[in-house]
Symmetry: C2
Subunit: 400 residues, 2 copies
């Protein structure tokens, strides 16, 4: 299940960045599951990783390699997360990098490894290593659509976003994957975004943090942060157009558009999702209060099951706001809307509200829950899904 | 669905405490839904209430009445929570107290009101007021079993616990209700416990806080704290046996046994529950760290769906521990057991672990997840359930 239709967009190639995909048979046969990406020499790279203490072996190795060498290749497998695998997991991730480095004639530290899939099982090295030459052989600037398929797990569709802007055009193109165990903390499950702008590494990091905080760090399917979250932003510089302080804001605006597309695509394809839900909180005392309230509502199992049932059970939204640990909340000030329908006013059912209006608002695929605390000027928004039978089915059957 | 069989126990009457129940037709006809309780003059009372900011009208009125008068009567309705009902809700709660006060010939402030059920709909005053005389007429020291039925909502069975101890016996008897929207914060949905011990009000409060922290404040079905949580402990003193500092610990030990019974009964009857799960964390740096880790695992939707599937997917437990915000966690020190089976050692799958052993442990109705962080001496335990199709069904259909 997924919310609405979503056509895979036209993907503008990014000069200096290639992707190659193959079916290596890591977990199951005949599905794309191994992706290699090549960065032109001189590319700058910014990356953010999960803050889960049990971060996977490839995440640990990525951090290590990034601190010593400029990346030239990325290698991504799906079907196995290589997480909770101890010393063997580190060896396997190193061996993967080493094999690709040999193929490509670069230093082993110039390769960054990524894995996604089931946690706690050894990485099947034999098919992975056997598949590398084919993925490497397939490298192409037109490889985005195949790569978008090659990184999926329980996702039901590939996720991409691409745009060009400016007179001397800059291209920004990216892919993401993720469907469950989604509450990214500094990054999503996996996302790779490339641009041909010329951006120095420091500025690229600033841009990445800024747009992640308004995209991947604002989504939740099930409040579970994964062990493998990684997002990588690559600037090849091949367009020759320099991004510096003068045009940085313009760059960030367009970059954020691609990031928000990719983050929202993860929610629309959330495990068992039948609704796409924006939870917006304004009138908060500070940003932290706005965000905490939004996440408390977005993660409430009772709100999420009511959304699945298209039931305007606003009492559950109100109860979630009430437990969001808001100091000295004056409940008589709180207002709540479902789309444009005012459902709670002065802390109780709005006089103008009728069950019919609530039902109409809930019938849509896309729903906005808007909460005004009326006590300050801070606001924030997070995106989430409903909780359905299919969420339980998918996660009860995941390993079988 | 509920975990295992649970026979309603023999309930020892508490001298000086009576309960009367009737079918008032508040939400549906022909089910017990209105309960009156009478406390002998001179009884002491301790109560704890939800910390949800949107506490219901009856909770607000209880606090007000408790501050002005010694309670002589409690009145509990099910079928409607009288929460999110604004000024009208306060009027309705006051009118309920007033009607019972007139019947019984006491001051209105000597009556404490309690409501549980759907949030945000006006309390149906007509059937409630019409039912009061019958409930009052039925008052009896043998009314525990009927009252246990009369306070239920989505519960599938009544919850009671009762014991006597000591040479000059002290009796402790109590009932509770709750099945969804369960993460009590200072109290559970509703619980009423009475004893015939003679305990002064201050000491009774100390006892209540102490045992709540080891019972109702250690359970979670769905991490949603209700608007109506209330627990009331009554000491009639009718046994003549004084509880003071000398025998306080003995009293608390027995009181805690009743409280833990009632709290665990709520989990065993949790919405859609097919498992009863203890999550124990030891080796933590401090109590807060132990409790936070236990709740993070107990509330993880991915851990809970794996429990429903009887799938020993220990990677999800490990991922939940990893996001529990433990400062400087050394993942190589972490050990995890399913019952007596060591599944994670040194932060990875234990060498002795086999999928068969995991399956065997998961097949039971009662499961203990034991996590040793191996970095300190603090420990804590919480109780929870799995996440099933029935949880979604019950909460998607609740208002229909």
């Amino acid at each position: 299940m997924a919310v609405g239709q979503q056509l895979f967009p036209t993907m503008y190639p990014v000069s200096g960045f290639k992707l190659g995909t193959t079916c290596a048979g890591i977990k199951s046969a005949d599905r794309p599951d191994l992706v290699v990406m090549e960065l032109a020499e001189g590319s700058t790279v910014a990356a953010l990783f999960t803050q889960n203490a049990f971060c996977a072996a490839p995440v640990r190795l990525c951090k290590d390699h990034l601190s010593t060498e400029s990346p030239r290749y990325l290698v991504v497998n799906t079907g196995n997360a290589n997480a909770g695998t101890g010393a063997q997991g580190m060896n396997d991730a190193e061996q993967t990098c080493s094999a690709l480095a040999t193929l490509a004639g670069v230093a082993v530290n110039a390769v960054l490894p990524f894995s996604t899939g089931v946690i706690g099982e050894p990485l099947p090295m034999q098919p992975l290593l056997a598949g590398l030459p084919d993925a490497y052989h397939n490298l192409s600037e037109h490889g985005w659509a195949d790569a978008a398929q090659g990184i999926l797990t329980t996702d039901t569709r590939p996720k991409g976003s691409s745009l060009q802007y400016g007179d001397q055009p800059i291209t920004i193109t990216g892919i993401s994957k993720g469907s469950g165990m989604i509450k990214p903390n500094m990054a999503t499950m996996l996302a790779y975004i490339a641009t041909d702008a010329l951006v120095d590494a420091e500025l690229l990091h600033v841009a990445l943090r800024q747009v992640c905080d308004k995209s991947f760090n604002r989504i939740t399917v099930d409040s579970d942060t994964s062990t493998n979250d990684s997002v990588v932003l690559i600037a090849t510089g091949a367009s020759g157009v320099v991004v510096d302080e003068g045009n940085f804001d313009q760059f960030v605006t367009h970059l954020q558009s691609v990031f928000v597309d990719l983050a929202q695509a993860i929610i629309r394809d959330g495990e068992g999702a039948s609704k796409f839900v924006s939870v917006s909180v304004n009138g908060a005392l500070d940003q932290d209060e706005a965000l905490r309230t939004a996440f408390t509502v977005a993660e409430s199992p009772l709100v999420k099951t009511a959304l699945f049932a298209s039931d305007p059970n606003w009492g559950r939204i109100l109860a979630a706001v009430g437990r969001a640990d808001i100091d000295q909340l004056e409940i008589d000030q709180v207002q709540i809307w479902l789309n444009s329908v005012l459902i709670v006013d002065a802390g109780a059912r709005a006089p103008s509200y009728t069950e019919e209006l609530g039902q109409q608002a809930m019938a849509a695929d896309d729903i906005e829950i808007k909460i005004n605390l009326n006590r300050g000027a801070a606001e924030d928004t997070v995106w989430t899904t409903d909780f359905s039978y299919d969420y339980v089915r998918i996660n009860a059957e995941y390993r079988t």
